[in-house]
């Protein structure tokens, strides 16, 4: 089955090491909450603010989970020290989008996909399935790989921090753009389908993609 999605809003942000301009202090005024946020959560909250997101259903995803939390947990276990409860609660794959739901009071359905290199493609597919119900769906993918010793794990990704958000709805119109999978600048493969859509998004035109399931 093919499902056509109109891209209503798009936003992306990336950095080779550390995305700094995330406006977190303004977007999350409560310090007690802000201090608990993971980097992926800060990226998700920023992207949400850029696409005029309200309380839509969300399909979020990442390929590798909350690596910084995972690293901290492994270090604690290896050193026979108690794991930080906050770090553990921040280690699940749906951490980032859960903080967004708390911040915005979003009680809707929120899914988290983790499909390795095809994570953003599968977010698009799951989003298309959900969008058949007629509502606008927010799709978000992030990777936050800038952890200590990442050079031991990563041999091919240049951009360690990336986030993309799209707001979509089903369209009966013909597609106007293809989903490009070119990755010359070495972003994480897990974000590339959505990142290239966001980069090609033109607010002055209709932006319609075709999702094949």
């Amino acid at each position: 089955m093919n499902i056509n999605l109109e891209i209503l809003e798009a936003s992306f942000i990336y950095d080779k090491n550390d995305i700094k301009e995330l406006n977190t202090k303004e977007l999350v005024p409560k310090m007690v909450t802000r201090r608990r946020l993971t980097k992926a959560a800060k990226i998700v909250i920023y992207l949400s603010s850029q696409i005029n997101s309200k309380n839509e259903r969300i399909v979020y995803g990442n390929a590798y989970g909350e690596l910084k939390s995972t690293q901290s947990i492994l270090s604690s276990i290896n050193a026979k020290e108690q794991i930080s409860p906050t770090v553990f609660q921040n280690s699940v794959y749906n951490t980032a989008v859960s903080y967004l739901s708390m911040l915005k009071g979003n009680t809707s359905e929120i899914m988290t996909v983790s499909s390795g290199d095809i994570t953003s493609l599968n977010i698009l597919k799951a989003g298309a399935v959900k969008a058949l119900d007629g509502d606008e769906i927010v799709l978000i993918v992030t990777e936050a790989l800038n952890i200590d010793h990442i050079e031991d794990l990563n041999k091919c990704i240049d951009y360690l921090e990336v986030g993309v958000a799209l707001k979509v709805k089903v369209s009966k119109k013909e597609k106007t753009m293809n989903i490009d999978t070119t990755n010359n600048q070495k972003y994480p493969a897990s974000v590339i389908h959505m990142l290239n859509i966001a980069k090609s998004f033109d607010k002055t035109k209709q932006n319609i993609i075709e999702i094949t399931l």
Partner: protein, 368 residues
């Protein structure tokens, strides 16, 4: 979108600390034989009660073995026209731990054997599927996988789905729940006022979900999702209440039609108080409720799938299991099942709730 298809569980298999087959699992649940044992292998400072699969095979070998059993018990020749949907919260964490603890560095860690997708790679090393997708929403992962299967069959996108819920026990989850102060050193006591925590456990549970019924099929009648939007680990009763009400609405049935609720019932103070309150708000005091986690433990990302199998077997066997280990009921306004009993069961609800306030309730029904 015109909804036309019906959704059926046509085959299922499982392996957990409570049994190496569905039959063993259900027998142990009905007889209150817990698979939970004290085990210090995953904790440096504690001897928590946890659930470990009793098998000579590795976890990955068991994953392939369970898929093979499903295939043998199905009407399929292969999985080439089947969508694989995985639900897992830890994926390949055990691989990462093994590498890191050996050398105390990251050099031998393969990041692609760390993530959730690694379990799909294991399955696809033996079987070819039409496509695959994995959900990782902590303890609702495989409940959400079943919900997605329901969605894509209802919408006539796929005919055959293999849902796999799989989580292996590891230091991270045992140590993490210990850090939260919610691990019990004995078999957990869901809904008891003297409960002292949960039992982390592991399992693999597979369900073949199709658009055509076969003999002994169980219908997936509805799914309800919600988010608490409240706290990362403390549940809010409104979230679970909304998930249950959404599931009833999706199934187009009334609360009085549900005969049994397989509760999330982890045995933690926070979950059980909140869930009981939500059940009380939605249902009359007639519907029977029990948690089966004192037998299986909390299998985390596999919990939704294994409890879907238990819910199916409740309907197939017309038998409601007891809430094991219950001595002093905390919330007397819900009808906790005190002993395993033969009942007329048409509809069962299964609840799964997770970190981040992610909630999923599923409704299963007898095929008429």
């Amino acid at each position: 979108m015109i909804i036309k298809n019906r959704v059926y569980i046509t085959a299922s298999t499982s392996i957990s600390c409570a049994g190496n087959s569905n039959e063993e699992l259900f027998l142990n649940i009905c007889k209150c034989n817990s698979g939970i044992k004290n085990n210090s292998n995953f904790s440096y400072n504690n001897n928590p009660a946890i659930g470990v699969i009793n098998s000579d095979l590795t976890f990955d070998q068991n994953l392939i073995d369970q898929c093979q059993k499903i295939l043998e018990n199905s009407n399929l020749k292969n999985f080439e026209d089947t969508l694989l949907i995985l639900g897992s919260s830890v994926g390949g964490m055990k691989n990462t731990e093994n590498s890191y603890f050996k050398n105390s560095d990251y050099k031998d860690i393969d990041i692609n054997n760390h993530n959730i997708q690694t379990l799909i790679d294991v399955i696809e090393s033996k079987y070819k599927f039409y496509d695959n997708i994995a959900f990782s929403t902590a303890c609702t992962s495989s409940a959400n996988a079943i919900g997605y299967a329901y969605d894509v069959i209802k919408k006539d996108i796929y005919k055959n789905i293999l849902v796999v819920g799989a989580d292996s026990i590891c230091h991270t989850t045992v140590g993490g729940f210990d850090a939260l102060g919610v691990l019990s050193n004995g078999v957990c006591k869901p809904f008891d006022e003297n409960r002292d925590g949960m039992n982390v456990s592991e399992a693999i549970a597979c369900l073949l979900i199709q658009n055509q019924k076969t003999s002994n099929s169980i219908e997936v009648c509805g799914v309800g999702y919600s988010s608490d939007a409240y706290h990362m680990t403390q549940p809010h009763p409104n979230g679970s209440k909304n998930a249950m009400m959404n599931a009833l609405k999706c199934a187009n049935i009334e609360p009085k039609n549900i005969n049994y609720i397989n509760a999330h019932g982890t045995g933690t103070m926070a979950n059980d108080t909140s869930e009981a309150s939500a059940i009380e708000a939605v249902f009359s005091s007639e519907v029977k409720v029990s948690s089966t986690k004192s037998i299986t433990g909390h299998t985390l990302g596999a919990a939704g799938a294994i409890e879907a199998i238990i819910s199916s077997m409740v309907i197939q066997n017309q038998t409601i299991p007891a809430n094991n280990n219950l001595e002093n009921i905390e919330n007397k306004n819900i009808n906790l099942s005190l002993e395993t009993s033969k009942e007329d069961v048409n509809y069962v609800m299964s609840n799964s709730f997770a970190f981040g306030g992610n909630n999923c309730s599923l409704v299963f029904g007898r095929v008429k």
